[in-house]
Structures are given as C-alpha cells and as structure tokens.
C-alpha cells in the first residue's frame, strides 16, 4: 500500500503524521502510537519482549523508552514502512535450513502473512528467517 493509494483525508492525515516524525523523537513517536491503541492492543504490545533498554531507569524514563525498545526489538519491514505485528513477533529466528515458516508483507491488503514452508509436527517450534533466504552466508553474517 502506497501513500498515493490513500484517500485524500487519509493522505492528509498521513502527511501530518509524517511531519510529526521530523518534529518528534522516535520514542515519542512510538509512545504516541501506543496511546492510540485499544486497551487489548496495549496489553499485547507491552507483553512483547525487548532488548537494549538500559537498567536503572526512572519510572518516567522507562515509560517513555520502553515502547521504543519493544518496537525496535519486534518490528519488521512492511514494504515501504516498518510494522509491529504482535503474533508474528513471537516467531523466533531459525538459521538456514532450520526455519520452517516464512512471512510476507502484502502491500495491497495491508497484512502480513506467515506460511508453513514444510510439514511441522505437533510440538515443534515455528521458526522463520529474519533475513532474506537468498543471501549468501557471508552476506547474512
């Protein structure tokens, strides 16, 4: 989905939103996005894991930085955008040959889909590759 495909109202809102990207910090941007979610969505968002968050933060700093840390840890490329998908975010990475599912962003539908690549027996973990599978091992490293 491209910005040019949006309706005029949505396009205006999108550019307003894009303007705020320049004006606001990344942490504020994600925090604002989280505040627009429903309570259930907020709950699923904060249930996600995160890394790179410094320890010994004050409660105020934590509330400001935690959303960005969660987003940075779990977001994936979605066409020309970056998206956070709470269910897909639970998919762990499997090295070449070990992953059994693949995710694809569908631009026209605005959804991310995950398909099985091979038969997965009950009890086995679903793994995907965070990198393009066509890259060579050196490129992936």
């Amino acid at each position: 989905m491209k910005v040019s495909d949006f309706s005029p109202q949505l396009k205006r809102a999108w550019f307003d939103y894009s303007d705020t990207l320049v004006k606001t910090s990344p942490s504020q941007l994600i925090l604002d996005s989280v505040q627009q979610l429903s309570p259930e969505q907020v709950s699923s968002f904060y249930n996600l894991s995160h890394v790179n968050l410094p320890v010994n933060l004050s409660p105020e700093e934590l509330s400001e930085l935690l959303p960005l840390a969660i987003f940075q840890t779990n977001a994936v490329a979605a066409g020309s955008n970056v998206g956070l998908f709470p269910t897909m975010a639970r998919l762990n990475h499997g090295c070449s040959g070990a992953f059994n599912s693949v995710y694809t962003w569908r631009e026209r539908e605005g959804v991310l889909v995950v398909h099985a690549l091979k038969d997965i027996p009950k009890g086995e973990e679903l793994l995907t590759s965070y990198f393009r599978t066509l890259q060579t091992r050196d490129e992936r490293r």
Partner: protein, 177 residues
C-alpha cells in the same frame, strides 16, 4: 340313464365355472410348477421399479455439461489467481490442509527455557499442495520462487510507521534518546 349322466357332467362344469377349480381338483404337478415359477418372477424386477434407469444419451450429455462447467470454473479460478485478481486460492478448494484460525489453531505461544517465548505447533501442520509464494505472472518467471503451505498467521500491523523513520529508529538506541 345316459341323459342323467350327461346332465350331471354338465351341472358340474357349470358349478366349476362359477366357483373356480377346487384345490383338490388342481393337479399336484401344476401346483409345484406354480411354486417353482415364483422366485424367477421376484428376481426379474424391472429397472424402472428401482428407479435405476440405464444411462441414456441425454444423461451422458448432461454429465459432459457438468464436467465442462466444473473445468471452466476451475480454470477461471486459477486464471484469477495467476493474474492477481484473487490474491490466494482458498486452500479448502485445493487441499485438505486447514487454515490456522481461532477454532483450529495451529500453534500456541509457549514459554521456552532460557529463550523467552515462542510459537509451538499444537497440531500437525501440513504443507499440503504447495502454493507459490508470489501470485504474479512476472514473478512466476523468477527462478527462486518458494513453495509454501498452510497459512499460519494473517495479521494487520499494530503500529506502522513510514520507512523514513526506520533509519531514524534504527540509528537511535533506546538509551540515547
């Protein structure tokens, strides 16, 4: 005397005509022959009685019409798929592999020892009949097309930010904002 005998015989024939032959008058051989003929009559039930009519030329033509219609519908569906009108052929039409949904989930979120959380298959997931990764004719020319199986997840983004902010987000560590 002769007249009496003649009149008695005539009277008997009249009585028999009126009441039909008595059982004891029927010869035993005839009776046996009658019993023997019953089974052959039962087995010889005509097809029309069972409503199983043999295929006629009309029926054959109807079957051909049905097969033609089904083939055309399948060809239309596949052409829609390949031209991108349909983004995906419903898997129920081409495979018994089920979709993962709330009623029939394929996986669940589980705690993994020392690895946080992950998605674990709660039933066998089949690849089934492979559907190609991309659904465009142009893509079909690419040699690296991947096969894929059951649809496991289909979800909309919780948060979606433009790509311009991706570099900003990526270059900015949480602790440095």
């Amino acid at each position: 005397m002769g007249q009496r005998a003649h009149s008695a015989t005539k009277l008997m024939s009249i009585r028999q005509r009126a009441t039909g032959p008595r059982v004891q008058d029927v010869p035993k051989q005839v009776s046996l022959a009658g019993d023997h003929s019953k089974p052959s009559k039962v087995t010889a039930i005509p097809c029309s009685a069972l409503k199983l009519k043999p295929l006629t030329q009309t029926h054959t033509i109807s079957l051909i019409h049905i097969a033609f219609t089904v083939t055309c519908a399948a060809a239309l569906l596949i052409s829609f798929y390949w031209t991108g009108v349909l983004t995906e052929i419903p898997r129920q039409l081409i495979s018994l592999a089920p979709y993962s949904n709330a009623k029939n989930p394929a996986f669940g979120v589980r705690d993994l020892p020392e690895r946080g959380k992950g998605l674990i298959a709660v039933r066998n997931i089949r690849v089934g009949i492979p559907v190609y990764l991309d659904n465009r004719i142009a893509d079909s020319l690419q040699p690296h097309r991947e096969q894929r199986g059951e649809l496991l997840i289909r979800e909309k983004p919780l948060i979606l930010v433009p790509h311009e902010s991706k570099r900003l987000l990526a270059s900015t560590k949480a602790g440095m904002v």
